[in-house]
Symmetry: C3
Subunit: 193 residues, 3 copies
């Protein structure tokens, strides 16, 4: 009886050790998976500089932020136009000047992607939004800030088009594709708008 | 020997309790991770009202549904035009009438995003699809329904453009950005088309 | 004492067995979750055939590949134009010929999505990129290859437009929506460009 109890205990003991090893291995795999699982994040590339797409981007961004997501918006190419507050031509190359002059001077003069008719479409859309008490784009940008949405201006696009920090609205981060991917790769949803 | 067996057992016992605690903690972390992991879902925002992009959206949606994913399509802005079956002008504001008259009357008159030439491009694309026995957009919409794809009409866009339920095809859900995000945040893939 | 030790051991033993069962169950759930968790992958649909959007796609693709992600680019509709190296009209239907003649003959003649002005915009953008020592689109395509980015030409689009393999650059995979979804559903980020 004593012997049998002893044997049992020793066999239990080895089983216990084995189990402890298994639990330790599971713990490691779980920690690894936790590390690699999507976080409560949403990453949005705003490539388009159209009013209607900008509105869609900010409606999604502020909606996601309201639902507790950490939202990053990465403004690149034409999307930088949404963040422009003024245009400075001095110090720009000929091409950069051309591009600056032909691009909207600020968010207030963005076109719509369809039926713009030299700004009539954009004006109509803004009027329809006002009639329905929908926030204007500028109000949405302010709301996004309040909700802690991270807005990143694409460094390469800025450099390419020669856009200075003083031409853009304040409170922007600056970054490249690695900055964007750093956010996107751990996000629940990535959108290219 | 007895004493030693007793000590061993008591030490085993505390180890066993400790291990049980660890397993319970792992179980909780795992349940939490399971809760937060992507489900077999795909969420697609259909912002564009172009025939070619609508086709891409429905090819992806029906493909994903065939592969066992629960697919949601959220139609917003110009995308609502894909679901239009008729246009009612009465009761619309001036801007809403303008927009309705200048938008395609139904899925059959959607333009293509490039080389549309007043509808010739769209007609050509439809002809090429027919020649190759590719499903038409209308057949794809029907297939999406059969496969249980959830189609959601954006409430805010509908309200903005004054589009009534009777102007849209049947069997649609209605919802806002929260409805979309509710799907997107637990999806394997999110697309903005 | 002996009896009590024996009882304790037997109760421990059943606890131990129970625990082992729990660990086994956890292991199964964890393996299942690992299987279903996003891999280090990024999947990009390149639908657009515009130079600016193609650049954005390749900047993201090569950036993600540099960061250790397995990147797939799925070229469909107009996006196939980015991979074109020449145009063969013989054997094409009337519509296919029309489409081929009105589409860019190669990546070098892609338009920009805004302010193209019959190619002047694209030329200006290329000039600005050169001035800033940014890789050209063709260099980015070569870099993507070097980094092991998988480029897939959409079979259905190719068939629809009658585009032969000899009209496209080499080293492409061919596939349909299932090929794309096979990548996208296990990716960290999916984009539709």
């Amino acid at each position: 009886m004593e012997a049998s109890a002893g044997t049992q205990t020793s066999s239990d003991l080895s089983q216990l050790h084995e189990l402890a090893q298994q639990v330790k291995a599971l713990e490691k795999r779980l920690a690894d998976l936790e590390e690699r699982s999507p976080e409560d994040r949403v990453a949005i590339i705003v490539f388009s500089g159209d009013l209607d797409r900008a509105l869609a981007a900010f409606i999604i961004a502020t909606g996601a932020a309201s639902m507790g997501q950490q939202v990053s918006m990465f403004f690149t190419f034409w999307g930088l136009g949404i963040l422009r507050k003024q245009t400075q031509l001095s110090g720009k190359s000929f091409s950069q000047k051309m591009m600056a002059m032909m691009s909207p001077g600020s968010s207030e003069s963005l076109p719509v992607s369809k039926m713009n008719y030299f700004g009539a479409g954009a004006k109509m859309l803004r009027g329809m939004m006002k009639a329905k008490n929908v926030n204007s784009l500028e109000e949405m940008i302010a709301l996004a800030r309040e909700l802690g949405v991270r807005m990143i201006a694409c460094e390469m696009s800025r450099d390419l088009m020669g856009i200075r920090e003083s031409e853009l609205v304040g409170g922007l981060d600056c970054g490249g594709v690695a900055t964007y991917l750093g956010e996107a790769l751990k996000s629940r949803a990535s959108l290219f708008i």
